[in-house]
């Protein structure tokens, strides 16, 4: 039945696929920014000498890192609205729509992974730097913001970007709750027209080119930074 393949189906559905791609890319970029910001906060909390601050952050990170992403997507997609109602008292706090629901999910999930990268990055900055900053009269927030974090981020950029490529691949999992990201668009077209072979191969090719291209850029970047550091 699939003896003759029909690759026209791809061309016919390009606008729909493009919309899906915008969903995937938008979700990736925003979740990356949100994840890195939240991840930084979590990392600073985990490095705090006060247990009351470090423990909740550690618990959060370990909890999310031990749970499969699909289960986390289910948690947030089905139960976040109930939680939001409870917190805000507004029964429709999450008339948020699928994009923002997914954005919150991925931001909160990826933050746990970014946190561990950032924590390692902060720890890689020699202690002497913090001491020197204090000696110069900087406060803790100043030392962090002006001395430690800029150096840490410079070292971490390649790993953070690699994690973001994984995040981009992970966004395809919103398929499980029926949303129309790039994979969702491909699957919906594939199933409606009975063209699974063509559409799934096309989806694989597109993901491969984007991720391979992005990893190549990251590698080049890494090489340059390494030279700079030596």
């Amino acid at each position: 039945m699939f003896s003759q393949f029909d690759f026209d189906v791809i061309q016919r559905s390009l606008p729909f696929l493009w919309q899906g791609m915008l969903f995937s890319l938008g979700l990736t970029l925003l979740a990356m920014v949100g994840g890195i910001v939240l991840g930084t906060v979590l990392a600073l909390m985990r490095l705090s000498p006060y247990k009351i601050i470090s423990m909740p952050a550690g618990g959060y990170v370990n909890l999310l890192r031990a749970t499969p992403l699909i289960l986390v997507i289910f948690w947030f997609y089905f139960l976040l609205p109930i939680l939001m109602k409870k917190i805000t008292g507004n029964p429709y706090a999450t008339g948020l729509g699928p994009f923002y629901s997914a954005l919150i999910t991925f931001t909160l999930f990826e933050a746990a992974y970014y946190c561990e990268i950032i924590r390692a990055g902060i720890q890689s900055v020699p202690r002497g730097q913090v001491g020197a900053a204090y000696a110069l009269g900087l406060t803790y927030p100043q030392a962090m913001a002006q001395v430690v974090l800029p150096q840490a981020f410079r070292n971490m950029i390649p790993i953070l970007l690699t994690q973001s490529i994984i995040l981009f691949q992970d966004t395809s999992l919103v398929y499980v709750v029926g949303l129309t990201d790039f994979m969702g668009a491909a699957a919906k077209t594939a199933q409606r027209d009975g063209r699974l072979v063509e559409m799934y191969l096309f989806a694989a090719l597109v993901y491969f080119m984007l991720c391979f291209g992005a990893s190549y850029v990251v590698k080049r970047l890494q090489a340059r930074y390494n030279v700079g550091r030596i």
Binding site: P56, G59, A66, F78, P81, Y92, A93, G95
Partner: protein, 305 residues
Amino acid sequence: MKRIASLVAALIAGVTFTGASVAQDGGTLKKIRDTGVVKIGNRDASIPFSYLDDKQQPVGYGVDICLKVVDAIKANLKMPNLKVEFVPVTSQTRIPVLTGGNIDLECGSTTNSVERQKQVAFAPTYFVTGTKIIVKKDAGIKGYDDLKGKAVVFTQGTTNERAMKAYNDEKKLGINFIPAKDHAESFLAVETGRAVAFPMDDIILYGLKANARNPDDFLVVGEFLSDDPYGIMMRRDDTEFKKLVDGVVAGLYKSGEINKIYAKWFQSKIPPKGVNLGFAMSDALKEAIKNPNDTGVGPCGRMKC
């Protein structure tokens, strides 16, 4: 140990935080007025109730009726520029997405059941169907008992899944069940030979068959395994909104406009391929139109248990 302790702490925090019961919703109309948007849950492949046409836009019998409801909301709120947003849902996600507030109406192919009424409310029945199976013509399946030991695909979260499983348990058929995400995927499992049968509401099966590449390869067989009255789904305990929706549906029935909408989707050419399902209105639906009601099926899958 520290790690375990922090995990436990986070868990407990999570439990006490989310453990609340579902807050009683009130005022879908108020929400729509505040946000200026009506959100409608649509399906990918519930032909001809709610599915994607050749431009990937949601269309169908249920979608048309929901758009009538939107007109009434516009008039009620005096907001002619109210926006309509479609949110894709599946059989699995439709109820939690609705109760969670991400959609206000679901106009697909949702069976009104007593069990679901504990979670959501239904407008008066707008279609009456029941579970049958679709099989390949050359598979030699004449009825349910021929499925013994065979692979059967089902769409997760449907009443048909329950009806088929109950029958399998009762008759000890030893069916090998394969779950799928939505009707199109289930149908493809039959088309590609992965499963021999797909239990679903007969009308949906006719819709899928008509739009298949080779419609003549398929047969819809069997007696009804369950009764499935469809209704628009909305949140529970919102009397004001339910009254409005019920009123619109009953109005369509009274004015006879429903016949036009019915003819458009069941007795004319429909997108994407321009086939005509040629499905005459059943007596059960005529009865439901004469006496609009939102009675659901009982736990046994039948109107009378």
